[in-house]
């Protein structure tokens, strides 16, 4: 036990003192926030740009229907000849010109509606033009049939389904997206953690082997102790990094929410939430939904599944590290490791999002090689306790099995030099 502690201690310090580790730990959250701010800034830039679109309306019906907005301004060129209008739009470098021909009596609508532009216009622009014209035509035709349009407007009912679970907690469609986002982010982060830290374990095993310090160490401690100490020490480094990120993330979230002037606790009470939402409904609902996520359980299960998944994969990574002589030899073994992780992510993004509690999602959240990722993605949607328990038990049991197997390969591999490892060779080592 004393030696295990010494090994854990050394492994932990070796990881944490690494310059790359320190830089990544403190820089990544900042890079992440920076990216979000950059994207937000760029899309803001995009939307402040105002487009000027010319209208040449021969029918005289539609020109007034186009209303100037924040992003678009319409100019009426209907009084000038078409050629002149086109020339003017071209000379002034306007965004484009809409040409609406006169109404065809038999058809009841303009024969031609054309858009001239330097570039292909955006989807939004075209959709807006079509909708404006079509709305106007519809109204005109209704009026022509003697129907009172104002009655229809009055009769129009807005529907908004309120989603609510059986314990009475409300959620919105938006909150489903947020759950998806957070679950997906957690699953993705977990995969990255497993790969990064599993690789760290592998590299550290290879380092000891190529440094030839391994034999000095195993003359003092059992190879299994070294393996276990290495995995545990590295996992502590992972937890350290994660904790730093959670703390930084919390601080940033607080910073943003107080910057927006929303008190996250006040948001919990419906009354104040209602008042706030009245003021700034969209952003507020978003922030409230984000704040209402089950952080505690998401955090706890992230830690549990990170440890479970990480132990599982790092034991395999360690066995591979022991089997090879250098990092370049590891390629052939990498694919089978990455495959289930990627499968987990795909199942998460396609199946869980579609149906969080469907058969596929449920099965993959029990299989230990994908369960950490898939279950984590499901958790924001609420998973029954027995399912979580089952998946954790299976994960732990598999961990013991894999650790036992990889310890056998590790024990032989660390003292084996110059042998090109193959799956057949590894199988033989299991029996030594």
């Amino acid at each position: 036990m004393r030696n295990l502690r010494l090994i854990i201690n050394r492994e932990y310090l070796a990881r944490v003192k690494n310059k790359t580790f320190i830089v990544m730990t403190f820089l990544s959250p900042l890079i992440f926030v920076g990216m979000i701010l950059l994207i937000a800034y760029l899309s803001m830039l995009n939307s402040t740009e105002q487009k000027i679109i010319g209208i040449y309306d021969e029918s005289g019906m539609f020109a007034t229907e186009f209303k100037d907005g924040e992003q678009v301004q319409y100019l009426d060129f209907s009084k000038k000849p078409l050629e002149k209008a086109r020339q003017e739009v071209l000379d002034n470098e306007y965004y484009g010109l809409i040409h609406i021909s006169d109404i065809e009596p038999g058809l009841g609508k303009p024969a031609d509606i054309e858009f001239f532009g330097k570039d292909t216009p955006g989807f939004g622009t075209i959709e807006n033009i079509e909708k404006t014209i079509s709305d106007k035509l519809t109204r005109e035709q209704l009026i022509a049939k003697g129907i009172d349009v104002s009655e229809i407007d009055k009769a129009r009912a807005d529907v908004n389904v309120q989603i609510q679970n059986f314990s009475g907690e409300r959620s919105s469609k938006m909150s489903n997206y947020i759950k998806m986002f957070f679950g997906g982010a957690a699953g993705y982060l977990l995969m990255m953690f497993i790969i990064i830290y599993g690789n760290m374990v592998m590299r550290s095993v290879i380092e000891e082997k190529t440094n030839r310090i391994i034999e000095i160490i195993v003359s003092s401690v059992k190879p299994f102790q070294l393996l276990l100490g290495k995995i545990l020490g590295t996992s502590l480094a992972g937890m350290t990094q994660f904790s730093v990120w959670v703390i930084l993330g919390t601080v940033l979230l607080w910073g943003i929410s107080s910057f927006l002037g929303i008190d996250p606790y006040a948001a919990q009470s419906p009354a104040s939430a209602a008042i706030e939402s009245a003021a700034r409904p969209e952003i507020n609902q978003l922030v409230i939904d984000i704040l209402k996520l089950p952080y505690a359980s998401l955090l706890v299960f992230f830690v549990i599944y990170f440890l479970g998944g990480y132990f599982l994969y790092s034991a395999i990574y360690a066995a591979i590290g022991a089997a090879v002589d250098s990092e370049t030899d590891t390629q052939q073994f990498m694919f089978p490791i990455i495959l289930p992780l990627i499968l987990g992510i795909y199942v998460g993004f396609f199946s869980v999002v579609e149906n969080p509690h469907g058969t596929v999602s449920t099965i993959f959240s029990i299989i230990p090689f994908t369960s950490p990722i898939v279950m984590l993605m499901r958790i924001p949607f609420g998973v029954p306790w027995w399912e979580i328990t089952a998946s954790i038990i299976v994960l732990i049991a598999t961990n013991f099995g894999i650790l036992w197997l990889s310890a056998k390969i590790y024990r032989v591999g660390i003292l084996m030099y110059g042998k090109k490892p193959s799956y057949k060779e590894l199988y033989k080592w299991l029996k030594y």
């Binding site: 090994i7 070796a14 030839r212 310090i213 034999e215 000095i216 003359s219 401690v221 059992k222 030594y432």
Partner: protein, 309 residues
Amino acid sequence: MENLLVAENIYKRFGNFTALNNVSINIPQESIFGLLGPNGAGKTTLLRIINQITMPDEGKVYLGGRPLHPDDIAHIGYLPEERGLYKSMKVGEQALYLARLKGLTRAEAKERLQFWFKRLEIEGWWDKKIQELSKGMAQKVQFVITVLHRPKLLIFDEPFSGFDPVNANLIKDEILQLKEEGATILFSTHRMESVEELCEYIALIHKSNKLLDGKVSDIKKAYKSNTFEVGLDAVDEPTLKRELEDRFQVGSANYKSIQNDLKLTIKLKDNESSNDLIQFLLTRARINHFVEVIPSVNDIFIKTVTQNA
């Protein structure tokens, strides 16, 4: 003398390959024991078994009369042939770590390390990283780590490889000093000069089998062939040579001397002694050089190995 380490009928197989085939060795208390053998003979496997890094398939190892126990790690110091240190860790830091893995407390380890660093004149290295040191320098650190916990049994696998002559000598003296202080030393090497110089006992392993073991002097006695090397000054050398060849088995000899002698090796029959030869020579020539040919460990090594090839 009582044996500190006894390995009895050790077998070790890796798949179809037999690394050790019924090998037994006895290492007497406070002796220097040389484990000899060509590359791939099974020396390192035997050392790993003694260090409990691998387990034998059959056979037992006793340390101080009791079967080997995991706690015995504290009584053994092992300097493997394949040795290294963490490249990016500071010398002092990793020496402390490795010493503590052997069961020393931090304070003990630090005190002894300071003693040894001073003794080997490497105090300035404490805060250096291994990657800044040369190979020989790193070997010194490894030597210190091996002996730091004052083990009863010290095992050195090719201890002098990588050292320059000055440092090799320094390490050799340290090993002898440790023996004086009561340690038993097991050497594994194929460098015969160092065996000749240091070892009292040897065992020769070849192709997984032990071919030979025992006290160096006994083995040499067993391998000497009653042969003498002589340097003679005679008036009529060809006649003398003919006379000798009629009476004995004569070969040519080559040794360094300042005289222009007739240099010969003369093998006697089993029932003859050196006196018979001297008597024969006395009246015929002046004897400038007369020495019994004692086989070197190197000769014995090569002879035994080629015989069994």
